[in-house]
């Protein structure tokens, strides 16, 4: 065989090899591309925050199905990988390490609530990945991490921003004195700290400022002690059992305070709304989404909630029947991530974080813009007043009119009335 022939043969062989390799890669690349993108997180599926956690999880599943039906993230299907953190911060670091190192997820997002976000922060920072938070409060204040973003609509300083609108709403009462009460628990205490600042800014005199233990069974002594101080308004930052206990104690003991409520967590949940029924009338509280006609500024939220409610019914889920509180937000924090990844076009955490910082997003919770610390650039908690509640039927809360929006002014559907005038 001549040398030329030898050369030809070898070139041919090489060519064939290359061709084969090329065909192989092209042949297999669709499936390689179809390898799903994994989004990992811990979620409170048991323990104290499980009510919220389970609701959030269903919303996140809806998001997954939605984005997958639209072609997924950068053309790949999305898969959720999640574990129950049992509402115990202790379990969180291990879960995120597992997600990142063993499950090899592409993105992590947080569990529900500040103290379950906090233990995941060092893990995220260590790996330098984008970390989306759900209802965290000032989690990034000390870390100053540039890839953290969270979705509590409470402005750059969430503790203060959370109750800012509430104080704006009650200006109509021209109050001079205020009583403040919070649960001895992380979120509630932070809310109250913020409320104290807002009260001082408004020049209110603080006549009562106390905390109650989460295990309190009877709230009537507390309400009486507050009444004895004769406050014009009464700010309450409470957790679900406290919220229910206080609403009842207020109904039983009565109060002369013109505005009552503010940061009562749990009144937005179906079980408590239906259970408390007419006792809620007059309470002036924060909310995130209510079925009032002006809520159209949240595009797609109505459809999302309808989808969720239908899911609960058809699948017989034991989660919140209405889902107003968390569903849009749990959907949105994934939606922001999804939009950013698709815009950047590749899994590049640096670029994605830059993009999220630079962009104003539109999602089911309206327009979102983040501060350098990853908080919302403006507060958008809404203030609602419970009224016209006749009985304990849950469906009345699914219709407009029971929780009228008092603030922000551009979407308001009512004007604040004194607590007693609605009783």
């Amino acid at each position: 065989m001549s040398r030329i022939l030898k050369f030809r043969v070898s070139t041919m062989l090489l060519g064939v090899l290359f061709a084969a390799a090329f065909t192989l890669t092209t042949a297999f690349s669709p499936s390689a591309q179809a390898k799903p993108i994994k989004v990992g997180f811990s979620m409170a599926l048991t323990g104290a925050l499980a009510g919220g956690g389970k609701q959030a999880l269903e919303a996140m599943k809806i998001w997954r199905d939605d984005i997958n039906s639209k072609g997924g993230m950068i053309g790949r299907q999305v898969e959720l990988v999640y574990y129950d953190d049992q509402t115990n911060p202790k379990n969180v670091p291990g879960i995120y390490a597992k997600l990142l190192d063993v499950d090899k997820v592409d993105f992590i997002v947080s569990g529900y609530g500040t103290n379950l976000i906090a233990p995941a922060m060092p893990v995220a920072i260590d790996r330098d990945v984008v970390f989306m938070g759900l209802f965290g409060m000032n989690n990034n204040k000390k870390w100053k991490y540039d890839k953290y973003f969270q979705i509590l609509p409470a402005g750059p300083d969430p503790a203060v921003g959370f109750s800012y609108n509430w104080f704006e709403a009650l200006k109509t009462f021209k109050p001079k004195t205020i009583a403040l009460l919070s649960a001895d628990a992380e979120f509630a205490r932070n809310l109250k700290e913020g409320a104290v600042k807002n009260a001082k800014n408004m020049g209110l005199k603080i006549v009562y400022n106390e905390n109650y233990p989460p295990k309190t069974a009877d709230f009537t002594p507390i309400v009486r002690a507050v009444n004895a101080k004769k406050p014009d308004v009464f700010y309450i930052a409470s957790y679900p059992n406290g919220s229910a206990g206080l609403v009842r104690a207020l109904a039983e003991v009565g109060t002369k305070a013109k505005a009552v409520g503010g940061g009562m967590v749990g009144l937005q949940f179906s079980g408590l709304m239906a259970g408390l029924g007419p006792n809620l009338n007059g309470i002036l509280n924060y909310d995130f989404y209510v079925p009032e006609p002006t809520m159209a500024l949240y595009p797609g939220a109505t459809e999302l909630i309808a989808k969720y409610q239908n899911k609960v019914k058809t699948e017989g889920l034991k989660t919140d029947a209405l889902g107003y509180y968390l569903v849009p937000w749990a959907y949105a924090y994934l939606d922001v991530l999804g939009q950013a990844v698709n815009a950047v076009g590749k899994i590049d955490h640096e670029a994605i974080a830059k993009y999220i910082h630079a962009t104003e997003f539109t999602s089911v919770v309206g327009k979102i813009k983040f501060t350098p610390l990853g908080e919302w650039s403006e507060t958008r908690t809404i203030v609602v007043q419970y009224q016209n509640i006749k009985n304990n039927d849950l469906q009345q809360f699914a219709r407009p009119g029971t929780r009228k929006i008092m603030y922000p002014l551009d979407i308001k559907t009512g004007t604040p009335q004194t607590y007693n005038s609605l009783r």
């Binding site: 129950d84 060092p122 001895d184």
Partner: protein, 324 residues
């Protein structure tokens, strides 16, 4: 000769193994899971010194642990104390707490001691809730130092010549060392006069007293050792979690596990709590990332019921019976 010191050699080997594991780049998950399991080795070994040997149930594990955690936090807040200082002070104060409660209630029947420890945990949690210096009910976030030092040696940060690559690896090793120390203490107690006296107390306290055993003194010593080790376990917590609030530090889970793990392993010997905590701890860690639902809790419940009914002396007892 080697046989005689095989426990001591085992301790050294275990310590070396802990160190070597930190030098191998493993999945981080294993460090976190390992930390949690080792912490339980420490806690349940500590619990067993009084509960297993002496038969006095400490219901307030969470109280001792929470005290340790918050002493550490206060020291960090106060002057940025190093982890070793935190551990020593937390251990000392938790030991003092044990002495105090013990002095009040250890003359009484065991149930009074159990209830008193439960009460002390609640009282302490209330104080922490109202103590804003350590974050109060709102919790506190602790940033770990970037390059912690120990006796002038940089521990973490391989780039700067530290021993460990990362804080979590250092904490894993530290927890390993503390757990081994606690096992060593427990074994020393068990095979010493103190352990034999405690055993007599558990079997029949009045008879023990009448046979010359200074029961109150021995119980107090055991409570101090046990409480102090729990405080130590708590002191490492802030550095590990970086965010602590009272419900985390005073979690009922600690009380349950510190009792369940020795029960499942066998309370009468030092190996029992070690076996129990490794087994139950691993089951829990694995269950968190596999089953991951309320079934987790069901498994713990069923394991407890099944073990206390079928294997009353735990796994170790069951094996010893089999070998007889």
């Amino acid at each position: 000769m080697l046989m005689r010191y095989r426990f001591e050699i085992g301790c050294v080997v275990a310590l070396l193994a802990c160190f070597l594991i930190t030098q191998v780049e493993l999945n981080r998950f294993y460090y976190f899971a390992g930390f949690a399991i080792l912490q339980y080795v420490l806690i349940s070994t500590a619990w067993n010194i009084l509960g297993g040997y002496g038969g006095y149930i400490n219901f307030g594990t969470a109280g001792f642990l929470g005290l340790g955690t918050y002493v550490a936090i206060a020291m960090i807040q106060f002057y940025g104390a190093g982890i070793i200082e935190q551990i020593i002070v937390a251990g000392a104060l938790a030991g003092l707490l044990g002495l105090g409660i013990g002095y009040i209630t250890l003359r009484l029947k065991g149930v009074y001691f159990a209830i008193a420890t439960l009460a002390i945990a609640i009282v302490l949690e209330t104080f922490v809730n109202n103590w804003d210096y350590v974050g109060g009910a709102a919790g506190v976030s602790i940033l770990p130092p970037r390059t912690p030092e120990l006796l002038g040696i940089t521990i973490v940060d391989r780039k700067g010549g530290g021993i460990f690559y990362n804080n979590k690896e250092f904490l894993f090793f530290l927890m390993g060392a503390l757990a081994i120390m606690s096992v060593w203490i427990a074994r020393t107690v068990e095979f010493g006069k103190l352990g034999r006296g405690l055993n007599a107390i558990k079997d029949n306290e009045e008879a023990a007293e009448c046979m010359g055993v200074p029961t109150l003194k021995l119980k107090l010593i055991a409570t101090v050792i046990s409480g102090s080790l729990m405080g130590v376990a708590g002191a490492v917590f802030p550095s590990y979690l970086t965010f602590v609030d009272p419900p985390t530090a005073f979690n009922l889970e600690f009380a349950v596990n510190s009792l369940a793990m020795p029960m499942i392993g066998g309370t009468f010997t030092w190996i029992g709590p070690v076996v129990g905590s490794i087994l139950l701890g691993t089951v829990q860690q694995v269950a968190i990332v596999t089953i991951s639902s309320e079934i987790n809790l069901l498994i713990i419940g069923l394991l407890l019921v099944i073990f206390v009914t079928i294997a009353p002396h735990g796994i170790v007892g069951w094996f010893m019976k089999k070998n007889k």
